[in-house]
């Protein structure tokens, strides 16, 4: 569409578009309300109509076929605006690249352009109650029924399930082989009979995740993504795209970096007292240092992505450091507030903010990879240290003990 357009002209077009469509940006974007999803769909649709969606996607899938340089120019122009596409990120950042790489032509034709237009919202259904860090041990079964499949099981931690049209489902199609070898990936119609979605309430009181129950859900044979029993490889593709997409954003679950924990705490300290306390000053300075280092790591990741280099260990480091900062900042916030952080007037926004931050910290640390898993990755893939002796590599899944946990 715009392949002859110069980078400068493109940049001007983006700038003009944002100036004109500013009303579409900046809406509520907590990613949970259906309202936010409507905003996201409308924004994405307008972007598509302007030829600004899927900049680096191939033209055949509805994309623009442009270069990474164009994407970066777009990102720079978008920086001043709150881009409300959060609810679409899993679909566009993880599911679509998987379909592009492994989907059938029919799947690509049917879904990709619609995702790009914001007409289809997608989610990802991998994790299960019994398969958290060890996703490959999942138990949801897909059994052949003629050309079709019948799926039974339960998924969990599914962001956006409640407003998604489709999802990438990982299910076990052969329990008689080791766990990685008997999985298959499917496109799941989230409105199919037998799909029940229940929001999962978190410590904070919010419900960013869902449980999805699958009871005799019929999935057509042409919904298999990639090959039957080769679903683990497909899932790795999806998760790699997740990592790139999180990494480029700077780690930490789409957490906006330099989000100003220090600035907020310094302001709080100035207002409620605390800047005169040398011990609290140490804590404040530590938060500044952690935050600055996280920004610098994130810059490094963006520079790597920009230069076409595979990001180094900074992604995992940023994830861990981000979770640590979030908890540390919340603790410092509560210490600044003092005893009033244990009980407060509903109008005390400081206490509300920092107690919520404290309550959100464990989820921040666990979701998207526990510290243990992240450190395994750093130890094994970055430092090259040997893996644990595998006790489950060569065992048929059927004989494997999985999940559990009684407390």
């Amino acid at each position: 569409m715009a392949t002859d357009e110069s980078l400068d002209a493109f940049r001007h077009r983006v700038r003009a578009w944002f100036a004109e469509h500013v009303a579409l940006t900046g809406g509520a974007s907590d990613g949970e309300s259906t309202d936010a999803v409507d905003v996201a769909r409308r924004f994405q649709g307008a972007l598509f109509d302007a030829g600004l969606a899927g900049l680096t996607w191939p033209v055949e899938y509805g994309g623009q076929g442009l270069t990474t340089a164009h994407q970066l120019a777009f990102n720079e122009e978008a920086e001043p605006y709150v881009v409300p596409t959060m609810p679409l990120l899993i679909g566009l950042g993880m599911c679509a690249p998987t379909l592009q790489e492994l989907g059938t032509q029919a799947q690509r034709d049917r879904h990709l352009a619609r995702m790009l237009r914001g007409d289809e919202v997608w989610c990802q259904l991998f994790s299960e109650p019994g398969a958290g860090s060890d996703v490959a041990s999942l138990r949801t079964r897909a059994v052949r029924d003629g050309d079709d499949w019948v799926v039974n099981g339960q998924k969990v931690w599914t962001s956006g399930a409640q407003y998604s049209d489709f999802g990438l489902l990982l299910a076990r199609t052969n329990p008689d082989v080791p766990k990685h070898l008997g999985l298959t990936m499917f496109v799941l119609d989230m409105r199919a009979p037998g799909v029940t979605i229940r929001p999962l309430r978190q410590i904070t009181g919010g419900s960013g995740f869902n449980e999805v129950f699958l009871d005799d859900v019929h999935v057509p044979g042409d919904a298999v993504v990639g090959d039957v029993d080769r679903g683990w490889q497909a899932a790795v593709t999806t998760l790699m795209n997740e990592r790139v997409s999180i990494g480029a954003g700077g780690g930490g679950l789409g957490r906006r970096l330099g989000g100003g924990e220090f600035a907020a705490l310094a302001e709080l300290a100035g207002r409620r007292g605390g800047l005169a306390d040398p011990v609290l000053r140490q804590s404040l300075a530590s938060v500044f240092v952690e935050e600055r280092l996280l920004e610098l790591l994130s810059q490094r990741i963006r520079a790597d992505v920009k230069a076409g280099r595979t990001p180094g260990p900074q992604g995992s480091v940023a994830k861990l450091a981000g979770a640590q900062l979030a908890r540390h900042a919340a603790e410092v916030g509560l210490e600044l507030i003092g005893t009033a952080g244990t009980a407060w007037d509903p109008g005390d926004r400081d206490a509300e903010r920092w107690t919520q931050a404290l309550l959100g910290a464990p989820g921040n640390s666990i979701a998207g990879g526990t510290p243990e898993i992240m450190k395994n990755i750093l130890g094994e893939r970055v430092l090259g240290l040997p893996r644990e002796p595998a006790v489950d590599r060569d065992v048929p899944f059927r004989e494997l003990r999985v999940g559990g946990g009684r407390s």
Partner: protein, 367 residues
């Protein structure tokens, strides 16, 4: 069992068993959650049984006032169990703060008025002005004392039958008793981090109050009461941390990932070991502080600050670690882990931050 004779290790063990059995039966987790959603936050029927069947409201009330005359060793056992079960009841406010404020005041008349009622389970007491927040003023009027001002963060302040408030009078600080029916008294429940322990803002406008003890003695009483509160809170925290550790160990031993119980992975195993190390240290810290109260040891303020500064941080660290061991399920609302996480952070800050406790400790040591 009656708490009448609680002195030997065997007595304490029996007391522990009976309290634990009672709480497991009367206030299981589902009931804790239910009460967290109610207006008052506790169940008067359970309170009556705690007072009657178990004799806990009279546990540390001297025998001449109708109690069992037990010491902090026994009180510590009860609080440890209450902390373990996250018992939502005005036990800490009434039995730790209320009873000991009266005992420390030396005001025999006030003791005779209130302690038998407390022991009988008919009077719940809250204490205000113990912490570092704004304090009320006491003005000597023609018809007695009037209190003026706002006191924040009063434990169980909205539901207590009697408020004991440390306030500043012209001759120094004093302790004042305010019945819940007093004129000019208003009490507002606050939002709390800990869903299982209520706090209130108490506003006093020309509120008539009875002096307990002497004006000018309030500083001594509140300092001594604070030491006892810190020791008691440490004991309660030991119970909570121990429970958090047990839940983590049980989960780690029965949750399988990668073909192994996750507790066989050193990362999880050592996390549990670190929790154990902290719980063991919390335990000796709390017991030393409780023992110092019972022994009337001059070392009590030191022991209390050691316990407070260590147990506050260690309990929260254990609660946070417990969530990590549980992974995703640990940060859901349905799992009890967050109830302890909330309780732990609240306990850490309730009577001052760990840093404040450390500073106070150094002063106590003469530096």
């Amino acid at each position: 069992m009656s708490a009448a004779v609680v002195s030997s290790a065997e007595d304490l063990a029996a007391l522990r068993r009976s309290v634990r059995a009672f709480l497991a039966d009367a206030v299981p987790e589902a009931e804790v959650r239910r009460l967290a959603e109610t207006r008052t936050g506790f169940d008067p029927a359970v309170w009556a049984r705690l007072a009657g069947e178990l004799g806990l409201t009279g546990l540390v009330v001297p025998e001449e006032f109708g109690g069992s005359g037990a010491g902090f060793a026994a009180l510590g056992v009860v609080l440890e169990e209450a902390g373990r079960a996250l018992l939502p009841a005005p036990l800490f406010s009434t039995v730790v703060l209320g009873v000991h404020a009266l005992l420390l005041s030396g005001d025999v008349a006030a003791q005779a008025d209130h302690l038998p009622e407390i022991a009988a389970g008919r009077l719940r007491v809250a204490v205000g002005g113990l912490g570092t927040g704004p304090r009320a003023r006491a003005i000597a009027g023609t018809r007695g004392w009037l209190l003026e001002g706002t006191v924040d963060g009063v434990l169980d302040g909205a539901t207590a039958d009697l408020l004991l408030v440390f306030a500043d009078a012209e001759g120094g600080a004093g302790l004042f008793a305010v019945p819940s029916s007093a004129a000019g008294l208003s009490r507002t429940p606050l939002r709390t981090l800990d869903l299982t322990r209520r706090q209130a803002r108490v506003e006093l406008h020309a509120t008539p109050a009875a002096l307990v003890g002497a004006v000018g003695d309030g500083g001594r009483v509140s300092a001594a009461l604070l030491d006892r509160a810190l020791a008691a809170l440490a004991a309660e925290s030991v119970g909570g941390a121990q429970r958090v550790l047990e839940m983590a160990v049980e989960y780690a031993g029965t949750r399988y990932q990668f073909g192994r119980a996750i507790g066989s992975f050193q990362a999880v195993k050592h996390r549990c070991a670190d929790m154990l190390i902290d719980v063991e240290r919390m335990r000796v810290a709390a017991e030393a502080a409780l023992g110092a109260v019972d022994a009337a040891a001059p070392d009590l303020p030191v022991a209390a600050r050691v316990a407070a500064s260590f147990c506050g941080e260690a309990y929260f660290a254990a609660a946070a670690s417990g969530i990590q061991v549980h992974g995703g399920i640990g940060f859901t609302w349905e799992h009890p882990a967050h109830l302890y996480y909330r309780r732990a952070k609240s306990a850490e800050l309730l009577f001052g931050s760990p840093a404040e406790h450390r500073e106070a400790l150094l002063r106590q040591l003469g530096h």
